[in-house]
């Protein structure tokens, strides 16, 4: 588990059950994911995160998508409906609640489709019982989580607390910083999650509004290329389509009977799901170019973050640099699998590690603290919650305060 993987000359193997170069009914050419990203000409587009989700799904060879409105993903979910009407997605409908939607997604995945859905905040929590079920059933469904508040009183503001709840579901959890990440992670996420030795669901998370509702420049491959479709038979479980002989899948029912057998079965099953998540590393590393990005990690002060907290940190680092304070940066791309080794290595020289987060729990700081030596080096913060923005100046102040430096009065910085 968790061994470092050699990056050089590695290439992810995507399904080739449909001949590469063949065209689908929309005239798009099935293309290897590596070629889509690294060979095809990319064109810059200025678009919102919601439009980016649409652009990704247009070339993702998705079988089924089930939708339910909740801000800030409603627009994206409706745009996928347009793709369905145009013929780019085979099956699409509105479910009756997020709990039902995730069940409908599961039914489609059990039946052998590539499945995509989106949700946010209360929707994620309403759906929660389904996520470990997806993982335990080894369904490589992708849910795009456009994070928003889950607290009462009702909030639609950006907040990443819901990701905390996803961490032990057995899903892959990736966190996009930008609209470009979002596009890349959606497409690459399908390919990694569907590898037979992985074959678990994936949550591609982004920070609501900051990513979904702002415009950004995104490089897109040509629209007439598309991912090779999902091959349901590259699967650790039988597809529920009666195309393979029905075997007795369990000697005994999964509950009751011999409790000794039951315990052993469930324990090993849970371990296998965890191991499958870890096995995704070797496919993810070449596609995402590592589970983390590093900038100047030889420095004594480091910021480690994920999502848009990374963008804010970049600006904070620029401001600090202007004052002669040198700070390095680690961007975490995959929260599950968690890049333990990479983080340990990248923080080796750091004396102070700051973890800015958009949630009240500070879950990322906890993860890091739990996994590096001398964890008193980790400063849990700054964190904001409830939809507050995290101006770069706040990060600057917090770092300086913690280091015992003088902090200028608010409003005079930068």
């Amino acid at each position: 588990m968790n061994k470092q993987v050699e990056l050089k000359n590695r290439k992810i193997i995507a399904s080739q059950h449909v001949k590469l170069g063949q065209k689908n009914k929309m005239g798009q050419t099935y293309t290897d994911v590596n070629d889509i990203f690294y060979k095809a000409k990319q064109t810059a587009n200025f678009m919102t995160g919601s439009e980016v989700i649409r652009a990704a799904i247009k070339v993702a060879s998705v079988g089924t998508s089930v939708a339910y409105p909740i801000t800030p993903q409603s627009e994206a979910a409706a745009l996928i409906g347009e793709l369905y009407a145009e013929g780019y997605v085979d099956e699409y409908f509105r479910g009756e609640s997020e709990f039902a939607v995730m069940g409908q997604c599961a039914g489609s995945a059990f039946g052998g489709h590539r499945v995509f859905t989106t949700t946010a905040g209360p929707g994620t929590l309403r759906a929660m019982e389904n996520f470990p079920m997806w993982a335990g059933s080894r369904l490589p469904i992708q849910v795009c989580v456009t994070c928003r508040g889950i607290n009462s009183p009702l909030s639609i503001q950006p907040d990443t607390l819901e990701m905390h709840y996803l961490l032990e579901t057995g899903m892959l959890v990736w966190h996009a910083e930008t609209a470009q990440d979002l596009f890349d992670y959606i497409l690459k996420g399908f390919i990694v999650a569907e590898q037979p030795d992985v074959h678990v669901p994936i949550a591609v998370c982004c920070d609501g509004f900051f990513v979904t509702h702002t415009k950004d420049t995104v490089d897109l491959p040509p629209e007439d290329l598309c991912l090779t479709p999902y091959d349901p038979y590259r699967n650790p479980q039988p597809v529920m389509d009666m195309e393979t002989a029905p075997i007795r899948m369990m000697r005994d029912p999964f509950v009751m009977k011999s409790n000794y057998i039951s315990y052993a079965t469930h324990a090993s099953w849970q371990q296998e799901v965890k191991a499958a998540v870890e096995r995704s590393r070797k496919h993810t590393i070449p596609l995402l170019d590592g589970l983390i990005d590093e900038e100047n990690t030889d420095r004594e002060i480091l910021i480690v973050g994920s999502g848009t907290a990374v963008s804010q940190s970049r600006e904070a680092i620029r401001l600090l640099e202007a004052e002669g304070i040198k700070v390095g940066l680690v961007k975490i791309k995959t929260i599950r699998p968690f890049p333990y080794e990479e983080i340990r290595r990248a923080t080796k020289n750091a004396k102070h590690i700051f973890v800015p987060e958009f949630n009240v729990a500070g879950w990322l700081a906890r993860e890091i603290k739990a996994n590096i030596p001398d964890n008193e080096r980790v400063y849990v913060g700054p964190h904001v919650a409830g939809g507050m923005t995290m101006p770069s100046e706040v990060i600057v102040e917090e770092i300086k305060k913690h280091l015992g430096m003088e902090v200028a009065a608010r409003g005079t910085l930068g």
């Binding site: 079988g63 089924t64 069940g103 039914g107 052998g112 039988p238 529920m240 009666m242 005994d252 029912p253």
Partner: protein
């Protein structure tokens, strides 16, 4: 699935369990006229069950599995409850995911199978308890009917939550004293059949499992109507003998009593005109086919 897919690999045949050999050699996959009468002379699609001895759910399973029009292309969706303990022993693909979400799973599954196999009828059949169908899952049960999802929902109505030890359920009779209804249930048994009719089911049937021929007919009707027209619903009384204090051999009498005139489970059906027309035409076709087969047999014998 063509029947040829259920074959034994010669090299591994000696390590396959005998019941699998029997399944390959003597099950009724692909037999157009399969039905409850095959029980005893062919290999059943249920190997064994882990229900209480004498539980009527077990005989209900056997009749249903014997009556499916095309088990070789049928996928079951179950739910949590006593029924979920049986599915691991059933030789038809089946899904257990969560408690109460069975009709949501079936909606996604049916649409996907339709999309993946445009030329083949893949039947989806939900089989769940009354708690799953009516209480925790009512929203998803009804919404699938509103959306006109083309699959069959079968409810094993034992009028309580059996698997968790006999608590009150929506389909329990009024006044029944149960766990969580210590003073007796204070509202009427939910009229699920009428709800199903109003929610858009093209075929609805309520009965007990005391008579296999009736169960066979109803299951065939429900699956065939779901293929062509829209959602169908079958509510079967499968009393929980354990929780109502009956002996193993008393289940049948309990069912027979409940289907007497004035009883809760007098057989009833609601069939839309469209569904009736379809069923009539299927009946006619079957008659002609069987007659032709008989003639052909006569000719051969002559």
């Amino acid at each position: 699935m063509s029947k040829e897919k259920i074959v034994l690999c010669d090299d591994l045949a000696d390590v396959m369990p005998p019941e699998y050999h029997e399944l390959v050699e003597n099950a009724t996959y692909g037999d157009q006229d399969r039905g409850w009468k095959d029980i005893g002379s062919s290999k059943e699609l249920i190997e064994q069950h882990s229900l209480c001895a004498g539980c009527p759910e077990s005989i209900a399973f056997r009749y249903i599995l014997a009556s499916l029009p095309a088990p070789e292309d049928t996928v079951f969706v179950g739910s949590t409850g006593c029924t979920s303990l049986v599915f691991p022993h059933v030789a038809v693909h089946n899904i257990h995911s969560l408690f109460g979400n069975q009709n949501a799973i079936a909606s996604g599954l049916k649409r996907t199978l339709k999309s993946r196999f445009p030329g083949v009828e893949k039947d989806v059949v939900v089989l769940a308890g009354d708690g799953a169908t009516v209480d925790i899952g009512l929203d998803m049960t009804m919404q699938s009917w509103f959306r006109q999802e083309k699959f069959t929902t079968i409810c094993f109505d034992n009028e309580l939550y059996a698997n968790t030890g006999g608590q009150e359920s929506g389909l329990m009779q009024k006044g029944f004293v149960a766990k969580m209804a210590p003073k007796g249930k204070n509202f009427e048994k939910v009229r699920l059949a009428e709800i199903a009719r109003e929610a858009g089911c093209a075929y609805v049937a309520v009965l007990t499992v005391s008579k296999p021929n009736r169960v066979e007919q109803v299951i065939k009707n429900a699956v065939l109507v779901a293929r062509e027209i829209g959602p169908t619903f079958v509510q079967l009384y499968t009393p929980c003998i354990l929780e109502i204090g009956k002996q193993s051999m008393e289940g049948l009498d309990e069912m027979k009593d409940s289907e007497q005139i004035g009883g809760r489970f007098v057989q009833k059906e609601y069939i839309t005109d469209e569904a009736q027309k379809l069923l009539d035409s299927i009946k006619e076709e079957t008659k002609i086919r069987k007659k032709a087969a008989k003639e052909a047999k006569k000719l051969v014998n002559a």
